[in-house]
Symmetry: C2
Subunit: 189 residues, 2 copies
Amino acid sequence: MGTTRREEILDAAMDLFAEHGYRGASLDQIAERVGLTRQGLLHYFPSKKKLLIALLERREELSREHLVADHIVEKDWPTQIAEVVAFDREHPALARIHTILMAESLTEGHPAREHFRDHQRAVREHIARLLTERYGDRLPSGLTTQAAAVALLALLDGLQQQWLLDREQVDHPEVMREVWAILLGPAAP
Amino acid sequence: MGTTRREEILDAAMDLFAEHGYRGASLDQIAERVGLTRQGLLHYFPSKKKLLIALLERREELSREHLVADHIVEKDWPTQIAEVVAFDREHPALARIHTILMAESLTEGHPAREHFRDHQRAVREHIARLLTERYGDRLPSGLTTQAAAVALLALLDGLQQQWLLDREQVDHPEVMREVWAILLGPAAP
DNA sequence: GTCTATAAGCGGATAGAC
DNA sequence: GTCTATCCGCTTATAGAC
């Protein structure tokens, strides 16, 4: 297997942070998962915080191609965005780690706070730019592109969180498709 | 002052859980805030978990009147809902504790998990019922009332979270007003 | 009611052997 | 590279004195 030790550790950390959060997961748990002791792990990442930062950077690489290149840029917005929601469901760990750590980073003194704040700003501006290029200052529905970007982001995160809290009957990709179709307006896509 | 010792403790716990989360806040910090030792505090709430449960029940009482009775039931939906968002901003601790603890409860083995799952179901059904009473199966925009309830909840939580992460330029109550006006449809309210 | 004392555990991190 | 040993801090919780 060509996977390096560092990558194995990052994989394990991703799973455990996704389940228990950064604070809730211990270095012992992560080390055990890859067949190491806590001290052996610390040889690769000198502190828990450094491990977290490395993990966040890697996660961003992994999801960038899917979220941006493969889906959002294409043409049928409502279904494409619904596919993003569906994609999240097919890669639970990847979506979960984002939701869990972003939420945890809202607490005081969390090491990932800045990362998520910057990430959110970048995504919001990216979406706003795409919308403006296509529709100008307002969508066909009359909604400001700025407001649309904010709302889209809130919906993505809110739906994902709702689903993690209670994997119930509601078909969230479908909700996303319906809502976004109406928010875009009659002339969409 | 007529406030009982238990209530003082609950107030302090609310502030500290809101800032650091349940896991991040310690009994020592809470006790110090009310001028007690950790052991003195444990006389009123025999465990940290019991304290959390008592706090969640009290929080629900406090917000019920504002969120349900004072706002949502009245007539101009878009602005009323915008006021809910604005209300959250005027009572940061109350809104923050909800967002922070709900998010934290998504992690494995969190003592508040069931509480928030049940709470979310109840609110979603409540909103769906109100919408159905007024509009039937679909809003004037054509959106399913079920989907509308899900989306409204996701938007409320998503916007609040976005705002906590980055208190920036965007006027979230206004975003909520615009978005909800479009989701309701042309014949609103 | 509130305290002191103490138990008992887990967390992250370091030093140094192999 | 990976381990053993160890430190130190912080946490929750209990026992019992006043």
